[in-house]
């Protein structure tokens, strides 16, 4: 058994996919008899200059031993945790700092062409290539994330999809008159598009939004849109809900909306499919499209208000179709094995730098 540190990056007062991933990974490592713990540093931007400092701070940490225990392996997850130095470092990449990669030159990046930004971008780019390149095992949480790493930094990575945290507990129930949106509430998740699209959908259909805001003023903006379109009676913000509540919300939804811009992976997609619900997503939603196929397990539409509105209207008017898409989604999830764990494969990959002899040495040394 090995001493393992999972390196997480925490945005205080928020909870998202990254937090779920770190918590469940530690739980699964412990279940397999490893001594596992988490090391997290808070992540804060802006100002952008903080990125360099936070990368350097991770780099400066000594993670080789604590309290007389040698650390056999560290598992890095999200930028900048992979800047940590350790002779045996595994990477399960959630994402790099996207504003300098796939979001660059688009509306979600704050990096411009001025020399200061460019100097910073180049430093992070070369830093990433170096510190990820030194990992003994490199993987990513989706095909999308691995393709980015290959295209930008020239590094190969293995795809290790995160298993569904609640496994077979997801269930399907009769569709009620609401659309469900789950996830952090921020610009790139594009909850605003659904709110603006709601007037196109029959007014008996309501919208339930699960998740907490993680951008300043975003709730003011959304509330303003709700007031402007007279949707006060139709939109409900539920905040963070318990596991059981989430299962019930999925089970009763007409369909699930999940259309972020170029999502890395997106637990929500798999949770919705596992709950037998059709997913409406966008053609530029990245990792979501690894699971949602247009007309098979959901609807893939252009990322605009009209297209999203008409997609939900179609599902609201043809409940049989919505149910069929959902049932096919559940069948897909059953076949792909997502409901039955998959942790052995994930942990097998992440722990591969601990070869048999390494493991033996670690035990002997102790």
């Amino acid at each position: 058994m090995a001493n393992i540190l999972v390196l997480g990056v925490k945005v205080p007062f928020t909870w998202g996919g990254q937090d779920v991933l770190v918590a469940t990974l530690i739980k699964e490592l412990k279940a397999r008899g490893h001594l596992a713990d988490v090391v997290e540093l808070p992540f804060q931007v802006p100002p952008k200059e903080n990125l360099l400092l936070q990368s350097a701070l991770w780099r400066a940490l000594d993670l080789t031993s604590f309290g007389g225990r040698d650390v056999d392996l560290v598992i890095a997850t999200k930028y900048p945790s992979f800047y940590a130095r350790h002779p045996r470092k595994s990477l399960w990449l959630v994402h790099q700092h996207r504003p300098i990669y796939d979001l660059l030159a688009g509306q979600y990046s704050d990096f411009s062409d001025n020399p200061r930004d460019e100097a910073m971008r180049r430093m992070i780019f070369t830093g990433d290539t170096k510190v990820i390149g030194e990992c003994r095992y490199i993987s990513g949480i989706s095909k999308n994330v691995c393709e980015r790493l290959k295209a930008y930094n020239g590094l190969d990575a293995e795809v290790l999809y995160p298993p569904l945290p609640l496994g077979r507990r997801y269930r399907s129930g009769p569709a009620q008159d609401y659309i469900l949106s789950v996830g952090r509430i921020c610009g790139i998740k594009r909850v605003d598009m659904l709110i603006k699209a709601l007037p196109i959908v029959h007014q008996s259909i309501k919208l339930k939004i699960v998740g907490t805001p993680d951008e300043p003023d975003i709730m003011d903006y959304l509330q303003n849109e709700i007031a402007k379109h007279h949707l006060g009676e139709r939109v409900e913000f539920l905040g963070r809900v318990s596991e059981q509540e989430l299962i019930e919300l999925y089970a009763g939804a007409l369909a699930v909306y999940y259309a972020p811009h170029n999502e890395d992976f997106g637990y929500v997609t798999l949770e919705a499919l596992a709950s037998g619900k059709a997913v409406v997503t966008a053609a530029d939603s990245g990792g979501v499209l690894e699971f949602v196929k247009d007309g098979q397990t959901g609807l893939v539409v252009e990322p605009n208000i009209d297209a999203i509105g008409h997609a939900f209207r179609e599902l609201a008017e043809d409940r049989d179709r919505a149910a069929k898409l959902g049932a096919d989604g559940r069948a897909f999830i059953e076949q792909s094995g997502f409901l039955d764990g998959g942790w052995d494969q994930v942990i097998g990959g992440l722990l591969s730098p601990l070869t048999a002899s390494d493991k033996l040495n670690a035990v002997n040394a102790r």
């Binding site: 400092l53 990669y101 030159a105 200061r116 910073m120």
Partner: protein, 421 residues
């Protein structure tokens, strides 16, 4: 002794897989085969896909690639499409030759770009930064920022070149080391086509059903001529309902709607047609490359006498005055053409190919590449110096931000990450 070929970083929207609507993609398809033996070209685009026959990378990795195997020059194609946003950004990151297919932009571009302190970059070009900012403080549809950042500016539209000369070079050129940014008109490339032996009566149109493309005037003219004319109308998929409504309004029966507007689709379509209609009435409007494609295929062209049409010779096309009498003028022009008052296809094609033949354009662009390389090398070096200075400033600030741990710990991390050198 063989002279090493110039290494060129080619930034453009590309046709990766299907032929897209972008002009840059079309121009790349034509020029790349002509230039590939003369230069060492690597392509950069906003995709992970590969363009057949060429090393293709995502633009994010361009500076790293430049560090590994330096380029002699960066070549950019810019147009008024979202797919060009990455080009707009990179023009500021690495000075180069910019081939403008649009100079009037309908969108501001990415927010970070709009608020960037790019005047610092301009100042690095030894231009008068503050004066430039003073001028550009006003919202304007002209691509002034991109124009000012271009090391060499090429225009596929003569009207845009004129706008550039009056709006950019006059403002920032004086007092600069460059004096005036080098600029010239570089026509759209066209590949010579096999022409129809005799001209018939098939009509084609590629404008949108929106008012600026004057479809209502053109359809009125066709209705008035009423000789069983057949119209092939190339549209975008989203325009179908509006186009159908217009066709119904004018009671036309012989109209074929073809979806998927792109230069290559138009090239395919005009092969079977005889008369092309290019009406236009918009401040953004320009003729290319569709009108040039029509002429290059030997079609008789009827166009609005507006905007970029000013640069067309009356002997090449029928020019129609936009406005109240526009439909009647179209009708008259159509009647005239249909009664045989038109030049032979080979005459029309020969006139336009004199300038637009892809071999001629490729030769011209090759000369521009070779002539501009020394100037661009100097500009790139200036920019790199500025980046290095910024890096040192950033590291100093970063060390100051950290009270704990002490700065020597960070220094060691900086050195380890290669940020110092």
């Amino acid at each position: 002794m063989t002279v090493p070929k110039l290494r060129i970083a080619w930034f453009s929207a590309l046709n990766l897989g299907a032929c897209g609507p972008s002009t840059s993609g079309w121009v790349s398809d034509l020029l790349l085969p002509e230039l590939s033996s003369r230069f060492e070209i690597e392509l950069f685009c906003d995709s992970f896909k590969r363009y057949p026959g060429f090393a293709t990378r995502n633009f994010v990795a361009a500076c790293e690639r430049h560090r590994e195997a330096p380029f002699d020059l960066f070549f950019y194609q810019l147009e008024d499409r979202k797919e060009s946003d990455f080009v707009r950004l990179h023009i500021g990151l690495m000075p180069g030759i910019v081939y403008f297919h649009d100079f009037l932009l309908t969108q501001d571009g990415p927010p970070a770009l709009c608020s960037s302190r790019w005047q610092e970059t301009v100042a690095a070009f030894n231009a008068e930064g503050p004066r430039l900012v003073e001028h550009l403080g006003v919202t304007t549809p002209e691509a002034l920022r991109e124009g000012a950042l271009a090391g060499v500016a090429l225009f596929s539209d003569e009207r845009h070149h004129d706008l550039f000369r009056t709006h950019v070079t006059e403002r920032i050129g004086k007092g600069s080391k460059q004096e005036l940014i080098r600029s010239c008109y570089l026509p759209f490339p066209l590949r010579p086509q096999s022409l129809k032996a005799t001209a018939g009566q098939e009509i084609c149109f590629c404008g949108s059903p929106r008012i600026e493309h004057r479809a209502h005037k053109m359809l009125a003219a066709i209705q008035a001529v009423d000789r069983g004319l057949h119209l092939h109308w190339l549209i975008d998929r989203s325009e179908r309902p509006q186009a159908q409504a217009l066709i119904k309004e004018f009671g036309l029966e012989s109209v074929e709607l073809i979806e998927g507007r792109s230069p290559s689709r138009w090239q395919e379509l005009v092969r079977h047609c005889d008369i092309a209609l290019h009406p236009l009435f918009s401040v953004y409007g320009q003729t290319g490359p569709y009108l040039e494609i029509s002429l290059g295929s030997g079609l008789t062209v009827i166009s609005s006498d507006f905007g970029a049409s000013d640069y067309l010779s009356g002997s090449q096309v029928y020019l129609v005055e936009p406005g109240l009498t526009e439909a009647q003028e179209f009708e008259a022009a159509l009647r005239s053409v249909l009664t045989g008052n038109r030049a032979a296809p080979e005459t029309i094609a020969a006139a336009v190919l004199e300038q637009h033949d892809v071999r001629v354009v490729a030769d011209e662009l090759s000369r521009i590449f070779i002539d501009s390389a020394p100037l661009l090398a100097e500009l790139m070096q200036n920019f790199e110096t500025q980046i290095t200075a910024e890096r040192q400033r950033l590291l100093a600030e970063c060390a100051r931000l950290a009270d704990n741990p002490p700065s020597e710990v960070l220094e060691s991390a900086f050195a380890d990450l290669g940020w110092r050198g």
